[in-house]
């Protein structure tokens, strides 16, 4: 996408959605993870009766409140964009997304409005037990809110539990539980939330590191580091586990995404995993140039990760694009033919219904159903459109994995030196701890780039490409709002950082 950036409406709309989603993801993971850390800190206060833990909880709660206040409603903009820039998509998925997003709104309003108020206002008004319960409910509620959005996103990547209604031109939910418990939805929820837990742990460790570097609030910083590092370490392990699940899911259901983020052009049995590499910028689809200028590969590991079977075949971009009969893979051109037939049959059905010819309409519909799984391919202009940007996916995926591997090591180091009682002397580690807040954000954003750029060209995998999902607007309209959002979100981000820095400088109440 970046290498082909042009002024067309589709790309400006994509860029706008990416901008607003990435800004949204600056705030959300911190809410998801920090809410649980607050619950842990307050649990320690209630269990031990040590007022130091109450002081710690209240300090981090202030930062939580700042992040929450700045981040709240940044997601609403994404829904605005659905209706304005992506009207075809918005209409087609309305019946599927309606229930999850409505439930998300209910969760957000009732749980957060109720328990937030008790958490912030209730320190001297309710019992310790009641207050602790409210804090836990905020954590649970915030994470359950995220579930519904991720169920919706999961459905885009792997549309299940629905049937296409040609009269209403929309997908209609047939099985709510199939949508909710889709393996992709579950994988997305567990992986995205655990990335928030890691980020929040890095946030607490990073700010605590800053206090130690400044020689301030040492006891509070050490206690915070211990709790956050344990949470961060466990979350990192869980993140790795859920990441493996996500990659396996990609291999089974979105093999082109996996091939792109691995830079795998030619499929192989016993396929090796590229752990690091430099993509050949001159490489084009269909040519015989090497995909990498440099790569470090572990033999056989990709087959294991993708299929959970050593020696299994992992299709590459070329296999998926041009087909591979020996492995039962249909090429994109063949899928495009079937998709074009589906589009033509849908048109025939529409015309037959208009003309009142129910016999012809029934025949067209029957035939359409036989081709409808390829509907989205009928809109592609060339097979190569089915390949997402390889370099962007490759680098984003590997940046995410490298950082995800680094973070548990970081947490272990913090625990080790804190346990030894020498953490305040490890200036190099403390400095890196501060910097790791930024790295946590980089990893999270990189992950979402893989998830969303990796699914291109699909708005709904195999069913609706992005080019058809859009509204018929001019690029100028979208450009205006793109820059408006850039300005608004930058102001919000600057506001958050400056208010947070002020509160951090003030520190916990003595």
């Amino acid at each position: 996408m970046l290498e082909n950036l042009d002024l067309s409406m589709v790309n400006w709309a994509r860029a706008q959605f990416a901008l607003t989603a990435m800004y949204h993801w600056l705030f959300v993971p911190l809410t998801l993870g920090l809410s649980f850390l607050l619950a842990f800190f307050e649990t320690l206060y209630v269990k031990t009766g040590n007022e130091e833990w109450k002081k710690i909880t209240k300090f981090w709660m202030k930062l939580f409140a700042i992040n929450f206040a700045i981040g709240v409603a940044t997601g609403i903009i994404l829904e605005f964009e659905f209706g304005t820039n992506w009207s075809n998509y918005s209409w087609m998925v309305g019946d599927i997304f309606g229930a999850p997003l409505a439930i998300e709104g209910i969760f957000a309003f009732f749980i957060e409005a109720t328990f937030f108020a008790v958490m912030f206002f209730g320190w001297d008004r309710v019992s310790k037990g009641h207050h602790l319960f409210a804090t836990w409910m905020v954590a649970v509620g915030a994470n359950l809110s995220a579930l519904w959005i991720l169920v919706a996103n999961g459905w885009m990547q792997f549309p299940v539990g629905m049937a296409f209604n040609p009269d209403k031109a929309r997908f209609e939910m047939q099985n709510f539980w199939e949508v909710l418990f889709s393996p992709v939805a579950i994988s997305k929820f567990t992986h995205a939330t655990s990335s928030g837990f890691v980020l929040a742990s890095l946030f607490v460790v990073g700010i605590s590191s800053w206090f130690l570097l400044k020689g301030r609030h040492a006891e509070m910083a050490r206690k915070s580091i211990v709790v956050a590092s344990v949470f961060g370490l466990l979350s990192s392990l869980y993140l790795g586990f859920t990441g493996d699940e996500a990659a396996y899911s990609n291999a089974q259901r979105q093999p082109m995404k996996l091939a792109a983020f691995e830079g795998l052009y030619d499929g192989a049995t016993n396929a090796g995993l590229v752990t690091a590499g430099i993509v050949n910028p001159a490489k084009q689809l269909g040519d015989d140039r090497e995909p990498f200028l440099f790569e470090i590969k572990i033999p056989g590991l990709l087959s294991l990760l993708a299929n959970r079977s050593f020696g299994s075949f992992v299709p590459g971009i070329n296999d998926l694009l041009y087909g591979n009969r020996s492995h039962g893979i249909m090429g994109i051109d063949e899928k495009m033919e079937k998709g074009q037939a589906a589009v033509a049959l849908l048109a025939s059905y529409k015309e037959a219904r208009k003309a009142g010819n129910e016999v012809l309409a029934a025949a067209a519909l029957d035939n359409f159903r036989n081709h409808q799984e390829y509907l989205g391919f009928g809109y592609l202009k060339s097979p190569e459109e089915a390949v997402p940007p390889v370099a962007l996916n490759f680098y984003s995926f590997h940046i995410m994995v490298v950082l995800g591997t680094l973070f548990p090591i970081l947490f272990l180091l913090f625990l080790f030196f804190t346990g030894k009682g020498t953490i305040a002397q490890q200036k190099w580690l403390l400095g890196f701890g501060v910097f790791s807040i930024f790295l946590g954000h980089v990893a999270g954003q990189a992950g979402w780039i893989v998830a969303e750029v990796g699914r291109q060209p699909w708005a709904i995998q195999n069913m609706l490409p992005v080019s058809v999902a859009r509204t018929n607007l001019t690029a100028a309209t979208v450009q205006t709002t793109f820059f408006l959002f850039l300005l608004l979100f930058t102001i919000l981000l600057v506001a958050e950082i400056s208010i947070m820095l002020k509160q951090i400088k003030i520190g916990p109440a003595e």
């Binding site: 206040a69 409603a73 209409w91 206002f121 008004r125 031109a169 929309r170 509204t471 709002t481 919000l492």
Partner: protein, 77 residues
């Protein structure tokens, strides 16, 4: 602070929120930001820049469906 334990439950809940909001310090700044942001989002952006295309241009679900179906079958023409 006066005792509210003799008030009915609804009154105690309202009093809880009112006392909470009154005692806010940092919270006042955050609420100002939230309210300004919500105003910009709903009264400016949504109203002037983000109309729901299908709601604004078509009077019924039948018309909206027909429009989307037309877009879906365009490549067949």
């Amino acid at each position: 602070m006066h005792s509210t334990t003799s008030f009915p439950l609804a009154g105690r809940i309202v009093s809880f929120y009112l006392d909470g909001f009154r005692s806010m310090q940092l919270g006042r700044t955050l609420w100002k930001i939230i309210l300004i942001k919500l105003f910009i989002l709903f009264a400016v952006l949504k109203l002037f820049f983000f109309p729901d295309f299908l709601e604004s241009n078509f009077a019924s679900d039948t018309e909206r469906a027909a429009h989307v179906l037309e877009n879906l079958t365009l490549p067949a023409k």
